[in-house]
Amino acid sequence: MKRIWNHPAEPQTGKRYWRSTAELERRSEFLDKLGVEFPAGDTLTDEERENSRRDFLKLMGASTALMGLAACRRPLTNILPYTDHVEWVVPGRPLLYATAMPTANGATPVVAVTHEGRPTHLQGNPLHPLSGGLDAFAQASVLDLYDPQRSQSPLIKGKAASWEQANQALAAVAESAKKDAGASLAIVVGKTHSPTLHRLLGELKGALPQARLFGYEAIGSEGRDAAQVAVYGAGIQTFVRFSKALRVLTLDCDFLGLDPVAGEALKHFTKQRAKNAPGGEMNRLYALENRYTLTGGMADHRKPLAASLIPAAAAVIAEALGDTSAKSLADSAPAALKEWLAPAIRDLIDHKGKALVLAGSRYGAEVHALVASINQALGAHGSTIELRQSAGEAQLGDTAALGAALASGSVKTLVALTPSNILFDAPASVTSAIEEKGVELVHLGHLANTSARQAALHLPAAHYLESWGDVRAADGTYSVVQPMIQPLYDGASALEVVLALLGRKTLGPVQATADAPAPEDAAHQAVRDTFAIVAKRFDEEKWNHTLRDGFLKGSAYPKAAVEVNTAVASALAGKAKPASAPTAEQLEVVLVPDAGVFDGRYIGNAWLQEAPDPVTKLSWDNAAWIGSATFRALGLKEGQIVKVNVNGAELKLPAIEAPGHVSHSVTIPLGYGEKGLGFVGSDSNNKGRGFNAYPLRKAAGEYILAGAQIEVTGEFYELAMTQEHNSMEGRALYREATLDTFNKTPDFVVKTGMDSHIPQNISFYKGQIGRKSETNPEGFDYEKKHQWGMTIDLSKCVGCTACVIACQSENNIPVVGKDQVRKGRLMQWIRMDRYFASSTWGEQNAKRDDVMIEPTVEQLENAEMVQQPVACQQCESAPCETVCPVNATVHTDDGLNAMAYNRCIGTRYCANNCPYTARRFNWFDYNKRPLDELYLGPLSSKDKTGVRESVQLQKNPNVTVRMRGVIEKCTYCVQRLEAAKILQKQKQRDSKDFRVPTDSVKVACQAACPADAIVFGDLADAKSAVNKAKASPRNYSLLKYIGTQPRTSYLARLRNPNPAMPGAETIAAWSAHQI
């Protein structure tokens, strides 16, 4: 049966037998242009190069869309090979590059996974000295690259302009600056650790000696920075060694969450909290904070304390250690606080040299001075805190100086290279000065936000994955930031703008003439020049190694032999005024960064917006967190709008009840409320998402605002919470015990709940459970197959949601939008369950059969917060499987609960029958329809946000993008497992050695976890880490009595309370009483 299909060659008129009209279009537009993006650039003419980049997104989108157009029996599909081969690229295999994400705290080392030139996923760089997973922001940053709302062309006074015009405008700025040696020019950068940027700023300063340089971050650490310079000296960097700290006390420093400290990776902290045999040391964490933070959740002892009293707490500790410089402050501390602190201080003193006190970066210099003095007294310097000397950093003025400079009127042009949205988030002193004095703002940014729209010149910023740069890590280790892809929208990096001001670069698309090749990239050259300085001389091999490894070996800052200047510290501390606790009339407002958008810079990132706040479980919005006592005293309901009056400013925003929050205190996350940023950033019709709390502060560094009044309105606001129920209702899902209990009864975990008295399951047959043996012939074959398994160590898990986002990135999980989150249709495969528990609940439940006991306000304020990530548990005896009528979910011989999307018809029965509620259903075509028009179905507009093609570029080609109507769930990243097995087959060839090397395959959540809480591997491999973890006495299965035999198990949390502390006996007591 020979049938020759003659797909005719183009151009062709008349009827084409196998084609639809869409494909006709595809040939003329798509095929002509798509191909040129892939081949290496040097075969292209410049015009083509320009066109190709412009149309890249559009065309890629078209390609994906057309793949679905299988109207005919045999639709024409083309294979478009590279014309010239591209170095390293093997079509179909991901290519990994080491690079680094620059942050205010230094480099986050990452490995970018690229598929045919598209970065799709980020992982931590395991080679880097500070390696250890990624935080949620870094994990999600890859989506920013493809953000459809990214600023895509320069704006001149809010109007789109060409790059030529932008270059001219910039040249004019440089020109006029030259005339007065830069006196009219001010440059403001973010907190940066890029040696090249510092070097170039230095050069600029050399060229324009009058030019002024400032540093500005919307949420900065002015107090800490000032104190450090004063106490330690300029250029001295602290580096915290968690691995050496046995006693840690934090004064509202969320070092496990949103307030990272320069130091070792978190895993060095969490590592000391996981004990798998009785005995041995365990670190102990004391936390004082006004609201729950992830750090507070991990603490062994936590006291809710108004932020206004944190300085007093610091003073009390300092006083106990002999520093009486802030005596009046210490005296103002309430008695209860002193009582609570006394045993803790004793404990710290007992562990001199192994103790560490941290203070939140947003507290004033006096607090940090006190803490430096405390740490000095505790012998922390040199042991738990290393001091290192950095060099070559440009001197930057602070925000106050910036305000003053602007107000003086001498600045005519302000070049804003900071990642902050300066006209939106800066204090009024800065913004009004810019407006009043008519300062020309040159703005570089990712988003067309307020600053961009109002700037005289806005330049789209290049993402760090598409530009050259460099950055030092917290310990000074030097990394080169290398581009993975050409800038999608021709954006420029901060480096490039400075280079342009220096006249060394033209921004925008590469300008090359037909006869001359493209000029060497100036940014690339600048980084190489810096490298030559950092590495002492330029060595091509060393450079290549740096690019390959992601960092330059031995480039850390040298240790500094610094004497702590206690006199300055005392002087600073002495300035502190006595603290007063907030009252019902005089509340305090605490401004904090948001776990989703940080200071607002991630407002366009849908993953981060949708990932719930780890504490409040609020997504897509911010709200005022109010402690239970105050909340109830005010008679508030969830989502009720309150009017907060402070500092003469007023803000209306919804309130939510926050257990563990101190009374008379309101916490408001910053960063929300920006308008005009499209659906993700500003909701439908750009009406703004969340509420902007920046206007509440009058000066930079003002984060704790005393004397606030709160007024309850009758209005309500719809909030999207991903979790509605805070109590575990006594169900033994999460288990914990004190170290003491563990030492006495290491198997406490199996004595919790019903685990110890599960009736034997007498079945007609044994079934495919456990290891195959003579007595269990139906079991899993451990000899000839891999047997995958996972443990999650709750002692280590912080609850940061990095795993949630890593999973979303790896597995093409769609974003569903606020409305759908409200309706309970979150798609994230990992659900971070956050519960509040208190010992009294447990006891009450144990005594009564009644379960629904409303906790009292006091219980709520002192509740423990626990975090438990739950995804598909990969049950060996999975209830979801048996109920699927079409065999869409069955068990594999390597122990996976497989899910075949293309077989699923969507009865959702499996979702009902999953004891862990781990299955997600595609209620709508989330991947296809605009999220704000889901209910319009096929009538929705095709060109709206949410369907943007650019987002499709992020998709992992090895995972099916699910359509509506099918169930999906965690698969243990089966694509990685299969890839590892196939890789092994490539090595195995004609041998028997099928087993992948021990622990060589990592699943996305495991790779992301900064706390090393997730261990995954082959149970059939005796040497695997997961086998060791499962051997821990703390190992338990969720809902074991149901008999599902999960492959994922949890390691119970250990806590290390100080018996001398008040309330120590209640710590973790609730867990033992569970049912």
């Binding site: 079934g767 495919q768 459970i769 999975a878 209830p879 499987e881 048996t882 069955v890 068990h891």
Partner: protein, 199 residues
């Protein structure tokens, strides 16, 4: 009209009541007629006895129909969901049907997973039985037959309302044009009528 050839179907006699019909039937039975029947708007209890009609064979058909259903369900399920046929050496069936036994909720693929198949076996048994009943009934009573000589008789239409009839067919060995008529009249039949049909 009159030139058309007619075929005699038989004599149709009407009776007033169930009781009359019942006794008439007993008489016809006793007279030894074989090809005859009574027609009534509803089934009359005891009429089978009065007519000497044997019990219907339908239950036997239905039994075998039902068993077929059971077996179809058994084979369908064991073939596609278990290795039973391979285990008893008939793997070729499994190969032919390209079946794909899968493990769900640790349930084995051998024959002892059978209890899970009972519901479908039960349902198919009933389904096949019901179809056998329907088609068996139609087969046994020779319906559908929309055209029948009896429908020629105008009076006969009353059978579905309140008419009770006895019809002795001409095909009966004992049938005679005069004898049968008088016999019917003798046992109480009214309006005895010769039913004829066009050929």
């Amino acid at each position: 009209m009159s030139t058309t050839l007619k075929r005699v179907h038989g004599y149709l006699a009407e009776f007033d009541s169930v009781k009359d019909l019942y006794h008439a039937a007993e008489h016809v039975r006793d007279a030894g007629y074989q090809r005859w029947d009574v027609h009534s708007p509803f089934p009359i209890h005891g009429m089978d006895h009065a007519m000497g009609v044997k019990r219907s064979k339908l239950p036997w058909f239905v039994f075998f129909g039902g068993m077929t259903g059971t077996c179809v369900a058994f084979v369908l399920q064991t073939l596609t969901q278990t290795t039973f046929w391979s285990d008893i050496g008939l793997g070729v069936l499994q190969t032919l049907a390209e079946t794909y036994p899968t493990v769900v909720q640790a349930k084995p693929t051998h024959i002892w997973t059978l209890p899970a198949f009972f519901p479908v076996m039960f349902e198919l048994t009933i389904l096949f039985s019901a179809f056998t009943t329907l088609f068996g009934l139609l087969g046994l009573i020779g319906l559908p037959r929309l055209n029948h000589p009896l429908f020629v008789s105008k009076r006969f239409a009353k059978f579905s309302d309140d008419g009770f009839f006895v019809c002795i067919e001409a095909r009966d060995a004992k049938f005679s044009q005069e004898g049968t008529r008088s016999f019917l009249e003798k046992i109480g039949g009214k309006n005895v009528e010769l039913v004829e049909d066009d050929i």
